[in-house]
């Protein structure tokens, strides 16, 4: 459960995860799936992008036109991840392997329109009931959901040493930032949700284990944007959260959604 000192954070183990698994989800998660989460120094890592649900994802080829930022931060420097358009895996780089590295992907906005009922289902499934209320207040509940969505995905690659650098925000508009390096040992995952660089309260955060996606952990961030999960098993984890705001006056959409994800491997034994 939640460590002492963050009483406002609510965490629930949803064994059935019935709500999240029920029916066809109209919006899908996006995350980074590298060819390995613990590369040896000097080896090539292929970076796969995935869109899907319950941590099962379709490969997404590289489309430069959609990419705002696609980089690897390792050994104290940041380098772009190269690759060929229309090809999966989306990129490749040579791993330093000395300390924990961060892969970061940020997309430009893409437009999507959903019928009113499906849009509302998706808002409910992603803990965005606040938007349902806002739509109701605006008399828009019968209108289709016109949305522009942005992806902010990160992946941590285990190195020979852990790194405090992974706890530094990358400056994404919406970001999951670990408090410490979760690849160091299997320990409670503590993190913060930042929106425009500031802590965001009451954001729904979900953790999914790759080998057993039926058991999902959920938490809401507190006033400081903090949340935590007691990860019950070692393995590859996906931490994700979605935030939605009203789109600007000149936007072609009514809403903007920001999709943050973080993938990493929690080890069996401490490094």
């Amino acid at each position: 459960m939640t460590p002492a000192g963050s009483g406002a954070v609510r965490q629930m183990v949803l064994a059935a995860a019935a709500l999240l698994l029920a029916g066809s989800v109209q919006a899908h998660d996006f995350w980074i799936e590298p060819s390995t989460f613990h590369p040896q120094p000097g080896t090539t890592v292929a970076v796969g992008l995935r869109v899907g649900q319950n941590f099962v994802g379709d490969p997404v080829p590289r489309f430069s036109a959609l990419i705002e930022q696609f980089v690897i931060r390792q050994a104290g420097s940041e380098q772009p991840i190269g690759g060929s358009d229309n090809i999966d895996p989306a990129g490749f780089f040579r791993a330093d392997g000395q300390s924990t590295a961060v892969i970061a992907y940020r997309s430009i906005g893409s437009y999507i329109e959903l019928p009113a009922d499906k849009f509302e289902d998706y808002l409910r499934q992603y803990g965005l009931e606040r938007i349902i209320d806002l739509r109701a207040g605006r008399g828009e509940r019968a209108k289709p959901g016109r949305e522009r969505f942005y992806r902010f995905a990160k992946a941590l690659l285990t190195g020979q040493q852990h790194s405090a650098a992974v706890a530094k925000p990358l400056g994404f508009a919406y970001e999951i930032v670990p408090e410490d390096d979760p690849t160091a040992r299997l320990a409670p995952f503590r993190g913060r949700i930042l929106y425009d660089g500031k802590p965001l309260a009451d954001a729904l955060v979900v953790a999914i284990l790759h080998s057993d996606p039926s058991a999902q952990l959920t938490a809401r961030s507190d006033a400081q944007g903090a949340f935590s999960f007691a990860l019950p098993h070692a393995g590859v984890w996906l931490i994700k959260s979605v935030h939605m705001v009203r789109a600007g006056f000149f936007s072609d959409a009514d809403w903007e959604s920001l999709w943050a994800s973080l993938t990493f491997e929690a080890p069996e034994t401490p490094r």
Partner: protein, 364 residues
């Protein structure tokens, strides 16, 4: 490489503003065959497919399987996979059989892995149309429909597990006669004005309320007709094009203009036919929208254009005739006709046109 070009071309061809998630690596080629069967080739990611099938059957999730094991697992679960392929002829589901044709899982991590599935089933003899739905995909993908009996292949973009639009089966669809085609587009043109085109109706009424004399009305209607016929044709052939966010507010403004001028004068000033002609050019682009959306076969464009235009003319004349017999026929000789009917009606039209203009500029 071919797949890369396919995806690049697909991205370019994808209509702007489409409902879309990220485009994935899944592709589907669906073929209607002469022997009254159908087949579909599905290319997709093998590990993701295996994981989806495992989740479906409550099995533990696998990872890092080799090609042989992965192929064996997908083959074992082929009947589960078949349940997620929904092929319907005239709304009636077809039995589906699936096999694994090829699976590539290269050791080289820089190369893509993929599985090729072959799905097939029977086609009812007199079916008119077929739809496709594949439930095991989360990304946006293209399905290419082809018919061995004729017609051009058609590509549709589907978002995740969405159902495709019906694809007509060439052998069983009786081609329409020219008369039927003309009648269809004539009706479409008429309905596009009455009752669907309130802005066009108000523009024609604006023309009508200038005067009760026949000649000035005929001059304006002729100018309007020639103008919108020109731009309707040019727009359909892609020679001229303006975005609807520009055309639609200007059409609203044209409604306001003719009505406001009615307040100033009851005479046909020399510039009025020219102005009406100019506005007619804009209305023509507006009319073209409905035909463009139909994505007409090239052979049908000319008959469609002519009959659609005739439909529009009939609708315009209907509007004028209705207005004439409602008010002008009875009251045109009254001294108060202009003050109590033409001017207030024009004021209402002008107010509506101005409201639409603001609405289409700021709230479209």
């Amino acid at each position: 490489m071919i797949r890369g070009w396919f995806l690049a071309a697909a991205l370019l061809l994808m209509p702007c503003g489409a409902q879309a998630h990220e485009i994935g690596t899944t592709q589907v080629h669906f073929t209607l065959q002469r022997d009254h069967s159908w087949s579909a080739t599905i290319i997709t990611g093998p590990q993701a497919l295996a994981n989806k099938l495992e989740a479906e059957t409550g099995q533990p999730r696998s990872s890092n399987l080799n090609a042989d094991t992965l192929r064996a697992e997908i083959t074992t679960l082929a009947s589960v996979l078949a349940n997620h392929i929904d092929v319907r002829f005239d709304g009636v589901g077809s039995p589906v059989h699936v096999t694994v044709a090829q699976l590539e899982l290269p050791d080289d991590i820089t190369l893509p892995s993929f599985v090729v599935l072959r799905a097939s089933g029977p086609m009812p003899e007199h079916a008119q149309a077929v739809t496709w739905r594949y439930g095991l995909v989360y990304s946006t993908y293209a399905v290419v429909f082809a018919d061995e009996d004729g017609g051009s292949p058609v590509t549709q973009w589907l978002d995740g597990d969405a159902m495709s639009r019906p694809f007509p089966i060439a052998a069983n669809v009786r081609p329409l006669t020219r008369f039927e085609i003309a009648a269809q587009y004539l009706q479409l043109g008429f309905l596009h004005i009455v009752p669907e085109g309130l802005d066009h109706i108000l523009f024609v009424l604006g023309i009508f309320f200038l005067t009760t004399k026949l000649k000035p009305i005929l001059v304006q209607v002729t100018a309007f007709t020639i103008a919108h016929s020109v731009t309707l044709g040019l727009t359909m052939y892609g020679i001229v094009s303006l975005p609807s966010r520009v055309v639609e507010p200007l059409i609203a403004l044209s409604v306001a203009y003719v009505a406001i001028e009615n307040k100033m004068t009851s005479k046909l000033k020399p510039w009025r036919p020219a102005v009406v002609f100019g506005f007619g050019l804009l209305h023509g682009m507006g009319f073209a929208g409905v035909l463009t959306e139909l994505r007409l076969p090239r052979a049908e464009i000319i008959p469609a254009l002519i009959s659609f235009n005739v439909g529009i003319e009939l609708a315009q004349l209907t509007v004028i005739a209705a207005a004439f017999f409602t008010v002008a026929f009875w009251y045109r000789d009254k001294w108060w006709y202009r003050a109590r009917i033409a001017v207030p009606a024009s004021a209402a039209i002008a107010a509506t046109g101005l409201f639409w203009t603001v609405q289409r500029v700021f709230w479209a």
